[in-house]
Symmetry: C2
Subunit: 108 residues, 2 copies
DNA sequence: TTGCTCCTCACGTCACGTGAGGTGGC
DNA sequence: TTGCTCCTCACGTCACGTGAGGTGGC
């Protein structure tokens, strides 16, 4: 299946500039161009782009995602488990912040 | 009370560079320098720095914080209420992300 | 003189946003 | 030719991080 850059962006939910950054970071690349010169991707790219975006949301930087692939499975799992801990921490901080903000709002 | 930049940073929990950014954004400034040429702040600055940091955590950019002061009280409250909504949204997203990440970890 | 802490620039970082300038088919 | 969508740079943005180069008292 041929997917254009525009379609890829819509399916993944990121901007063209983001995909460009993924490619510059060496995380993925276009399969080529179609006869009109449009950048073309396949379903593998789609899955890869989704994964990159997901790992980014977990808190990985692009270069961390790059090196993550070279690690043994166990180390990868540890890395992700660590990010999950960070997310739990962030969740608690966010809850605290909401409470503080509500108090601040009342006192204003 | 005279507070040095270093002390201010420790009390607020931000870096010198952050205070420098607050000052460049026109949000606060040092009271002057002591006889050794050290930047000196007072308790007003301390409270201001804490407030800036708090509003930043709520999601305000420095220039938004700058303009926030010029707004009438009601508009300020609206702005903060909006940020609280964003935080609630972020909390939910974080919760979703944690669940997804846990599933991802199992399947790995 | 050495060592310490402070100062003021100013370039670097990260992941994009936002044009600029150009191409190709209708 | 006009209008549309796409392309590839490349500067700008945000809130700092991280030195560089200099000062002043002990």
């Amino acid at each position: 299946m041929e997917i254009t850059l525009r379609e890829l962006c819509e399916m993944v939910g990121v901007s063209r500039r983001s995909i460009q950054c993924y490619e510059k970071a060496g995380l993925m690349r276009a399969q080529g161009k179609n006869k009109y010169g449009y950048l073309i991707y396949d379903e593998g790219s789609l899955e890869r782009a989704r994964q990159i975006h997901f790992l980014q949301e977990l808190g990985f930087e692009l270069k961390e995602i790059k090196s993550l692939n070279t690690l043994p499975k166990e180390a990868q799992k540890e890395g992700i488990a660590e990010k999950i801990e960070n997310l739990r921490h962030r969740k608690k901080e966010t809850e605290e912040l909401i409470k503080q903000a509500e108090r601040y709002l009342k006192e204003l």
